[in-house]
């Protein structure tokens, strides 16, 4: 079994009126079956309201399925006794770094998680150091988080998760509020964690460029997984993606337009290197 596996997962938001009668039922996740392999970098795309975040919140048992099941490293999230183990296995990073930082000093913030799960003090400091090193923020350990840039804050939030030594990190639009440099810092950091430390990464994003290095991409629409494949496979289906209110990376879009004008490029070009090389060969 993969590190994350779901079977016919359904989640419904139920809205009630003042007397507690059911007013509306909104099915946010609809019969989702996914299996994510340990060590993979997986991206989830989908428009606002497509159910991505609701799905992600099942991955560390913030939400529990209305119907169906989800297992994290073999543990059923409905098993309340396993809750702590599940949260230790899968850590979550959210969109707004300011909502995730609680410490007044960077190193204390990173140490909060391990302290909370009862790790002995000397080991907490080891983990803090390792976590900050993993996100290249060690030299800021004594700083106040308030004075950091958005990208730096988000890296501190990631360090806090790394210090929990999870097998898997789920990031819900971690770059939405960042400038180009901040975005790059965060993406480089999680790519390194994935490649060097073997941490499974699940990245939810609206930036198509951030997805091209992923092992696998899921596309969601109206609560269901509607496309699934490698970035190359997914991004060669431009029209379908547009139907789902999504896009393709600029490089891919340019290659598509050139192809339509008769330049014989291959399908699903994702990187600047690929495009430049192909154009050079044709020229």
């Amino acid at each position: 079994m993969g590190i994350i596996k779901s079977k016919n997962l359904v989640f419904e938001y139920i809205r009630r009126d003042e007397e507690g009668n059911v007013e509306a039922i909104n099915r946010a996740v609809n019969e989702v079956n996914i299996e994510i392999k340990q060590g993979d970098f997986v991206a989830i795309l989908g428009h606002n309201g497509s159910g991505k975040s609701t799905l992600a919140k099942h991955m560390n048992a913030i939400l529990q399925p209305t119907e169906g099941d989800i297992w994290i490293d073999g543990k059923d999230t409905k098993d309340i006794d396993q809750l702590w183990e599940i949260r230790k296995t899968a850590g979550m990073v959210f969109q707004n770094p300011d909502n995730q930082i609680i410490g007044t000093v960077v190193e204390e913030d990173v140490g909060f998680g391990p302290e909370n799960i009862g790790i002995p003090t000397p080991q907490i400091w080891e983990r803090v150091e390792k976590g900050l090193k993993a996100v290249n923020m060690l030299s800021f350990r004594k700083h106040s988080p308030n004075k950091l840039s958005g990208g730096q804050k988000q890296r501190v939030a990631i360090a806090g998760i790394v210090a929990m030594q999870p097998k898997c990190i789920v990031l819900d639009e971690p770059t939405a509020m960042l400038d180009p440099n901040g975005r790059k810092e965060v993406i480089d950091t999680i790519t390194r964690l994935n490649k060097e430390e073997g941490v499974t990464v699940i990245l939810i994003t609206h930036y198509m460029e951030e997805v091209i290095g992923a092992d696998k991409v899921y596309v969601m629409d109206q609560g269901s997984v509607v496309m699934e494949g490698t970035p190359k496979e997914i991004f060669s289906r431009v029209d379908e993606l547009k139907q789902y209110r999504l896009d393709v990376p600029q490089v891919t879009l340019l290659a598509e337009e050139l192809k339509e004008s008769g330049v014989s490029l291959s399908d699903g070009i994702l990187t600047i290197d690929e495009l430049v090389n192909e154009i050079c060969q044709l020229y």
Binding site: G46, H47, N48, G49, S50, Q95, S149, G150, G151, E173, A176, M177, L178, D179, P180, N181, G182, R183, H206, M208, E209, K242, R245, L246, D247, P249, Q250, V251, L253, L254, E257, L258, S261, V263, I272, L275, V276, I279, C280, L282, Y283
Partner: protein, 283 residues
Amino acid sequence: MSIILDKVNYIYGSETAYELHALKDINLVIEDGQFIGIIGHTGSGKSTLIQHFNGLIKPTSGSIYYNGEDISDSDFNKKKLRSKVGLVFQYPEHQLFEVNVFEDVCFGPRNLGLSEKEAQLRAYEALKMVGFEEDLFYQSPFELSGGQKRRVAIAGVLAMKPDILILDEPTAGLDPKGRDEILEQIKTLHETTNMTVILVSHSMEDVAKYVDRLIVMNQGEVKYDDTPKEVFGHYLELEEMGLAAPQVTYIMNRLREKNIPVNVNVTTIEEAKEEILRVFKNR
């Protein structure tokens, strides 16, 4: 309705240990009817700058003139300035509060002391301007999608009939389609009303596509103030400031390095396509 900034300086926490010189000798003229982009890394002074445009922050030194009047004069009507220079903050949907969409948009014009009829008329016009569907007018703003909420928030500012509309990252957190829809709407608004629009953005692709003039802020100073084409020609300098150029600019530069005689002065996909097709033809 021009705004002139003359040697504007702003210092946060002046004469304290946390003193921060956020704006340094800013000289800018915002002419009527322009579509202006402002880019800069987090902390470069963009937000401080736009808050000066409608008098939310007073400069530590220097002067700001609105239509030739000094806004720090004691008899200057600040309330009028704020209705004429509309500011849409980041994540403006967090400021929605009324029971339904229509009431929310009416709040601003009512606050200006306009008659109920006039306020409603303006709210109607403003919601139409942002392309909001009529059958959702009496829906609670909290039950809308992210893109719809944001339109309502923008309509709330438009209902004040500003001459200048300033938007601080209006597309942050929206899916690609939602992002394109909002930006197209803003463009149409600019073209049909000739309103001055100032767009603060972290997306180089978006500013390249939409604005006529691009202001680059770096460490509290105006680093560049020119057409997007000219500005993105300095992409190496922009990278040092934590910014970047649109992806197509990199593609063109790489092609040039490989001795393909393309013009590197290209910032949009459309232009890149034309340029590559041109060199293929002239081969």
